[in-house]
Amino acid sequence: MWAFVLFETLVFTSYFVVYLLFRAQHHELYLQAQANLDLRIGIFNTIALLLSSWAVARCVQASRDGAYRSALTNAFMTIFFGFVFFVSKVLEWAKEIRMGNGFTTNEFFQHYFFLTSIHFLHLLIGFIVMGVVIYQLWSPKRRSQELVETGATYWHTVDFLWVLIFALLYVVR
């Protein structure tokens, strides 16, 4: 899983490099387009994902200690906070599209929709991964600490990739 984490990070970093180089070419356009994003929504989304990461870290620890009921509760909390991010992101996309900021509006929004969509896809895969973790934790016959930790590592990757995307899309000038 760690090879995947480092590879994914490299792939996203390559895209960030392209984004920053394009951004420098049309600085004013990017700043004007960026002004349409609501930083408060970005902060809310980030905190929701950080909460999910916190919950999955607790899930790993509880499972390691043999506290499987607590592990399951934390796995469900992870999915819940991930779902909060999911809904918030969909609403944000809808808001931007209503404001006339679609994928083809300008270069900034092309990067915005591309990056957030690719990340969203990772989130959807994360839900499946957490579903597998819950399935494993449910029955004593299936429990595997290695699988719980692998699932958690994937979920944390979804979290820290968003931390980078958020800084680059909403905050950089």
Binding site: T13, R23, I43, L51, R58, H156, A167
Partner: protein, 97 residues
């Protein structure tokens, strides 16, 4: 679940959330009525994000308990991302100017 570990995870989450909220202050202090270009805001935003990534690696992903190789590898990765992001930002600005 050990309460010490539980408390540590909560403290880490609070730290990461505080760093996220710091973006609001950074954003507010950088602009008056319109968004302006700012290398200080850009470097600060990237630095905060990378620090958060490193904290997630070490605390949430438990790299601090992992073999030294993984510790060094993840630190090297954070450094690599820093060089790529800051390098491309400043390179892009230099090419344009």
């Amino acid at each position: 679940m050990s309460s010490a570990f539980n408390t540590r995870l909560l403290a880490v989450w609070l730290l990461l959330s505080s760093m996220t909220l710091a973006y609001a202050w950074l954003d507010h202090s950088a602009d008056d009525e319109m968004i302006r270009p700012s290398a200080v805001v850009t470097v600060s935003a990237i630095a905060i994000a990378l620090l958060k990534v490193r904290i997630i690696f070490r605390e949430f992903m438990e790299v601090r308990h992992a073999p030294a190789l993984l510790c060094r590898l993840t630190d090297a990765w954070v450094l690599l991302i820093a060089v790529c992001l800051l390098g491309s930002y400043f390179l892009g600005m230099t090419i344009v100017n």
